[in-house]
Symmetry: C2
Subunit: 390 residues, 2 copies
């Protein structure tokens, strides 16, 4: 009889995020994957399984079965390493990590790779928007003219009205993201942003302007997971996944209990913290899914770091890199970028770098626990993971 | 410390497969899912997680995140039951079952549902073909004009030449599929097929004619998996998943070792049999992924039921329902149909019905073990599962 294994992250790799016209979907995926294998100090053939995550490759790039694509192009297929794709909209990345985590934990594999990739610039204008609409409820939302930005804007309006929150509080999250991204060589946007600049950007869906919306990014992120047995046998070190939570709400926003409480985030967060056996106060930094700035505020509340309607009190100094609760040291979805299938994996890359002391100018001092939050679309599925140094 | 659990299938549900113009993607998925829950005799809220499988929903129907879609429309979201999608081309179904199997086996969940669905008739003609092309290597195969049928035809030509196999041997697999499907109320095609009819059909890609090619089907299949603890606590019965194997080959056909040896199938089959601790001779029936008739022959060989080039010796009486080795009692991909994301789950539905004695006119007497083989595209990923009565 076998028992459950602790699960480690032993390596990470990432491409730059951005508009990468010169690189294809497969090139991005393989670049990140090979970097992760090299970083882990293992051989590719030691990998037991590859979980590919991509939300839109089938829609945008006309390429499904991207697990096989990556396995083929990276040479993993020559060792017959199985490869499948996990898709959960913009939470595909963390969903793939969770499947890899369960597979290693159960003893099925000693080593699993997760590779997240998205190539969002290959088609243009309204077509890209149409593809992004595939993560909403197609028949009840998209066909009625709703876009992800419009949905987020509705939520923002009601939140700001009910809790008397000013637009500045949303903008300050973007300012923080850009500040951190300026220290991240892989970030999509490395320019610093002033509060005035954030407030004065082109309107997208009132009250959300361009600086409230994460960009369409190309990019790939990869991590290597391993069992305790493997880590010890090969004298590796790594960081640990201490808790994994996943939960669900309605896909269609109109069916939810509340426009500004993300039930899936509330439950996933609670479960992950409980499994890790820690409290919010022990968390050293957060990576949260701020695809739109309003979600950043709401998530801080739904993850238990502020009371409902009060997160704006945190977005001054507290969330800065040297603050009481650093948020999105990577630069977050707004400034590091949002290549959908890669985004959630990229949060693990950031955590790995932070715990290994490799985060450069954006290094947080002596982190104990990191909380990573990845969300599908407007909140249908949420995943929360707690990671810590091993 | 927890130990690994045995994994049971405790219920199944399925829609009819076919051109179902009056039903949408979500209606199909929910119909199959609710039937499975009812069949299992549990409450929906007892489900720990939903694995949705669909290969083409993001491409054909403009709907990604179909895990969330099903959870929403079926009411599972009201119990916050998490839902993700697994995609591995035409092997998405078995890949999703495997993820559910690992999740239950590791103790993460006591009950998991797998729902596979595809709605392939919603767009027409060349567009549907273009969408099916998303499961090939887009840049190296599809853009060069290759189609799945053309790839299978190349394989068939070389196989028939090298092993001096006549076209009749391929046709006899289709005849067998149609014979069995005539006894399956859910099958796409219930007409019996004569050898002459199979030989004389419209040519698609020489030597494969229309009767060598599985159809574009709409449909959904669902099963409910449960841990041993849950099954005993609730005095349920079910069938057991005794072994699960998955393996990989190159996505692009031109990179493979051989045109007519499916390495991924060879390895996945060997692993599944080894994990179940049984030999080929103990298998009572097979469900194999005969998306094109030539693959049926090759798979019988690569799964170890015939020597390479000799499977044509089996396709007479042996593969019939009352033969020594019944193949595709469900009607197989050719006649039960091939709604891609549902196909692999549908094989489990058939196995469940066979072991529960509920397969009606196509019932196999006292089955001991069933082998289920589901394959991605031209063989990039293969999954093999061994199931048996509990």
């Amino acid at each position: 009889m076998r028992t459950l294994s602790d699960v480690y992250i032993i390596g990470s790799g990432e491409t730059k995020y951005g508009e990468l016209w010169e690189k294809s979907l497969r090139e991005l995926a393989v670049e990140a994957g090979l970097k992760a294998v090299e970083d882990a100090g293992i051989y590719s053939k030691d990998i037991g399984i590859l979980y590919g995550s991509s939300s839109l490759a089938g829609s945008i790039n006309g390429q499904n079965d991207i697990g096989s694509l990556i396995a083929d192009f990276s040479g993993l297929a020559s060792s017959n390493i199985p490869a499948i794709r996990v898709e959960a909209s913009s939470a595909s990345g963390a969903a793939a990590v969770r499947e890899a985590y369960l597979a290693v934990r159960s003893g099925e594999y000693d080593v699993a790779m997760v590779g997240g990739v998205e190539k969002m610039t290959d088609i243009y204008g309204s077509e890209t928007l149409d593809m992004v609409g595939t993560i909403l409820d197609r028949e009840w939302e998209w066909f009625m003219g709703a876009t992800p930005a419009a949905m987020a804007a509705m939520t923002a309006r009601k939140y700001m009205k009910d809790f008397k929150v000013e637009k500045e509080s949303l903008a300050m999250l973007a300012v923080n993201d850009h500040e951190n991204a300026s220290k991240n060589p892989n970030a999509h946007f490395r320019n610093k942003l002033t509060l005035e600049g954030a407030m004065g950007a082109t309107m997208i869906a009132d009250p959300l302007n361009m600086m409230d919306c994460s960009p369409m990014s190309d990019g790939a992120s990869a991590i290597v997971l391993a069992s305790e047995k493997y880590v010890k046998a090969h004298k590796l070190d790594g960081i640990k996944i201490l808790g994994s939570g996943i939960s669900q709400d309605y896909l269609a926003l109109h069916s939810r209990d509340s426009l500004y409480r993300l039930n899936s985030t509330v439950i996933a967060g609670r479960n992950a913290l409980s499994k890790a056996g820690i409290k919010q106060s022990e968390v050293s930094f957060l990576e949260i899914h701020d695809s739109y700035s309003i979600y950043g505020l709401i998530e801080l509340e739904d993850l238990g770091f502020a009371e409902k309607g009060k997160a704006s009190q945190l977005v001054g100094d507290d969330i800065k890199l040297n603050g009481a609760l650093p948020v999105n040291p990577s630069g977050g979805l707004k400034a590091k970028g949002n290549p959908m299938g890669a985004t959630g994996v990229g949060q693990f890359v950031e955590a790995y770098l932070q715990f290994k002391g490799k985060a450069g100018e954006r290094q947080i001092k002596n982190p104990q626990y990191g909380l990573l939050h990845n969300m599908a679309g407007t909140g249908s599925t949420s995943l929360v993971h707690i990671v810590g140094g091993a």
